[in-house]
């Protein structure tokens, strides 16, 4: 079998995969010496044999001619709508949490005073609405408690606005945010009812200015401290 020199480049495929007759192999090797295009092409595909060698026997389970990605569990079947719903739930959760961070990250005066636990929220580049300057506190969960609490302290003329973003909270009972001033006096700045999702975002208020707040605590209705932060 002979191949015209114009058609020699097509031999590249079988040259790489194997199977060329001796004559064709010699012809292509000769051609390769002078053909820049084939040299370039070969450079791009010369790694394929090694990669093909990594696949399982016969190229693996997807190589069956009729296979369209029909791999066994848990594989090729279309994603289940339940999983799509689960994904979107998680997107919603993180989007709400992100809002809490937005105000902080974009704020000129944003300072993370205390990063509690191992929880560092997602960073975001910019917000379209200029937020109020806020100081930002991530409350550390006390041991035995898995809650995540994020509190933005927004200075106001009347005191401090407290934007509370928390999740993995108890799902029953009442919850409250306590502020403790420099003299150790504690007072409630917000209270709310636990949600079934364990997530809530509420806003509280205190007459104290941010600098007068020594610490913040999230407590249950029975007074058990779930998380605390020092400013």
């Amino acid at each position: 079998m002979t191949t015209g020199s114009d058609d020699l480049h097509v031999l590249l495929g079988a040259y790489v995969l194997g199977g060329l007759s001796d004559d064709d192999h010699s012809a292509f090797s000769e051609h390769l010496r002078t053909c820049g295009r084939c040299q370039t092409d070969l450079g791009q595909v010369s790694g394929l044999p090694r990669l093909l060698g990594l696949a399982g026997p016969e190229g693996g389970p997807l190589m069956a001619t009729g296979a369209t990605g029909g791999d066994r569990p848990p594989g090729g079947e279309p994603v289940e709508e339940a999983n799509v719903a689960r994904l979107l739930d998680e997107v919603g959760r993180r989007r709400r949490r992100r809002r809490g961070w937005l105000a902080v990250v974009a704020a000129a005066a944003a300072v993370v005073l205390f990063a509690g636990g191992a929880w560092l929220g997602p960073r975001l580049a910019a917000s379209s609405t200029p937020p109020l300057p806020a100081t930002h506190v991530a409350a550390a969960a006390v041991s035995g408690s898995g809650v995540r609490v994020d509190i933005a302290l927004v200075p106001r003329g009347w005191g401090t606005q407290l934007d509370i973003d928390c999740e993995d909270m108890p799902t029953q009972g009442e919850l409250a945010l306590w502020v403790v001033d420099r003299s150790g006096r504690a007072m409630t700045a917000a209270s709310w009812r636990a949600t079934a999702a364990g997530y809530s975002r509420v806003t509280g208020a205190t007459a104290l200015s941010p600098s007068e707040i020594r610490s913040l605590e999230v407590r249950t209705g029975t007074g058990k401290v779930l998380a605390s932060a020092r400013t």
Binding site: M1, V10, G19, L52, L54, G56, G69, P74, L87
Partner: protein, 162 residues
């Protein structure tokens, strides 16, 4: 800004099955597959990457997540030996490459799969392949040419650039 829900769901529907296969076969842990795949999609949602190769981005992200989890597992005191971690990482990389190559082969059109199987995996000659498939040798050669180019393109798209 992050992507909207519709875009996230669309990415998940399109790439979810492939990601699940890759993660499943790289980790062999059915319990973690859905969690890892979900985390991959969530990262894409969060970062809204400006990429014209989303598939490669997804696979690279999955690889990082799997490697990180393996390392985290390796920090358990009874397993904390550096050599083992290194070995496990490289074994994991091999496993991922294997999965990706198999995935790429699965994406070839049937004609091209046949040619790769005959010429590479079964070590048949061009003439033998032509006889097996009942086509002229010239057809085998040109199919081999396009099979190789397509396979390279699919692997590039998956971020396998070696």
């Amino acid at each position: 800004m992050p992507l909207d829900e519709d875009a996230v769901a669309a990415i998940y529907r399109e790439h979810g099955p492939m990601l699940r296969r890759v993660v499943w076969r790289a980790t062999s842990d059915a319990n973690r597959v859905d969690d890892i795949v979900q985390e991959v999609i969530l990262r894409v949602w969060k970062q809204a990457p400006d990429t014209d190769n989303l598939r490669a981005y997804l696979i690279t992200t999955a690889r990082h997540l799997i490697v990180d989890q393996h390392r985290a597992a390796g920090r358990r005191p009874q397993q904390a030996q550096l050599v083992e971690v290194a070995e496990r990482d490289s074994a994991l990389d091999r496993a991922l490459d294997q999965v990706l190559v198999e995935e790429a082969l699965g994406r070839l059109q049937p004609n091209h799969k046949e040619i790769v199987r005959c010429l590479y995996y079964e070590r048949l000659s061009v003439a033998e392949t032509a006889a097996r498939l009942g086509v002229p040798e010239g057809t085998v050669k040109s199919r081999a040419y396009y099979a190789v180019r397509n396979l390279r393109a699919v692997l590039d798209e998956m971020g396998v650039t070696r």
